[in-house]
Symmetry: C2
Subunit: 246 residues, 2 copies
Amino acid sequence: MNPLDNIRIVLIKPLYGGNLGSICRAMMNMGISDLALVNPNPAMDWDQAERMAMHSKSILAERKQFSTAAEAVADCGLVAATSARTGFYRDHSISPREAAPRLLQAANTRPAALMFGPEDKGMDNDDLSLATHIVRIPSTDEYSSLNLAQAVMVCCYETYLASEEFEPAEERYPQAASELRERMFAMWRAALLDVDFMPPEKADHMMMGLRRIFSRGPLTTADIKILMGMARQTQWAANQSQNDQD
Amino acid sequence: MNPLDNIRIVLIKPLYGGNLGSICRAMMNMGISDLALVNPNPAMDWDQAERMAMHSKSILAERKQFSTAAEAVADCGLVAATSARTGFYRDHSISPREAAPRLLQAANTRPAALMFGPEDKGMDNDDLSLATHIVRIPSTDEYSSLNLAQAVMVCCYETYLASEEFEPAEERYPQAASELRERMFAMWRAALLDVDFMPPEKADHMMMGLRRIFSRGPLTTADIKILMGMARQTQWAANQSQNDQD
């Protein structure tokens, strides 16, 4: 089983449809689908939630609803609560990056919850007491309170990354071998001499500069072929104009 | 100079006020303040932007506006463009976590830009060609397109974390010393014998279970004092009821 399927996002008394929809989208972006709402705003703008959910409307449609946070997490092992405030029982907070592997490990055997309080005042102490872990998202002292949907995104993003489900695109071509690279530099050397970019006695020095520029990052075989084509054509054009002048 | 002050968020043709305001808030949460807009939507809902910006209205008010992306990044060294699409020139993308230290290093000497395309269609190839780095935010294949404000948050969050400006709350009290922990266990042993929780011959075995439970994480001196108080009071109550029965 994929532990991401066992991560539950619990929103306590969410107020705004825009946030709710953005949260569904963030969840689907990050491979999480279990959404529980505790006492959502009776005046919730469900149409706006659908609009902001975009292609993640299925998560909104399949949400569960509960009247207390205790019921929403009743079957969960690890329960992480996010809190921006500090104080007694909130001191021992961990970051989303620290929480993510613990959440995933716990989610191997039972549902694990990430709880978020209402937009306007955060989580109350009764709900916070359900938590086994308090998560604080790093932020500046100037403005420590994140928008609810942004807070959910940061936690889902860290959890998704920790799951190692994402495979970054690999370079399509491996780094070129030294022998090919040297042939390319030899072609440029010849071309730059033919266009009179440098006199022969300065060629070694100038080529060191060019080598430095072309060695800031790995060059693939495809990159080398582009650079060889440029050198070849440059040399051809130089020789053409030489012929015209003769 | 704090390199975060040299990070510029560049939004190309942003459409929606809600996203714009959320972006200002995300920036202030993460210690970034330089916002540049390229051809914002003429029908932009500036009132909604102000509402969503909450306490970060100063960033919205101090935004710069440009008519081309080239002008918006003209003074920037490193220029990172975010892109969800893959393809030629987009293959060699790096993650926000890889990009963050490079952005900060570049920002030590010149402004460094994080560019984001419009909500509806992403960045066009002309604007993308300005980039020295392509950033792809990890996401599922099922739904790889993030909401614009969420994409900005993920990039700002990674950059802020990499800046090491954030100091996590330290534990207020250090882990208690073994000697104090042993006194606490001795008090519980006495109390649990007095309340007849365990017969003397099982005491060693039961106390091993209790030690395991209390050793899942570090106990601070304050934790130990709470546990000692409970043991002392338990023993006192047991002896009271013993005296009543005598």
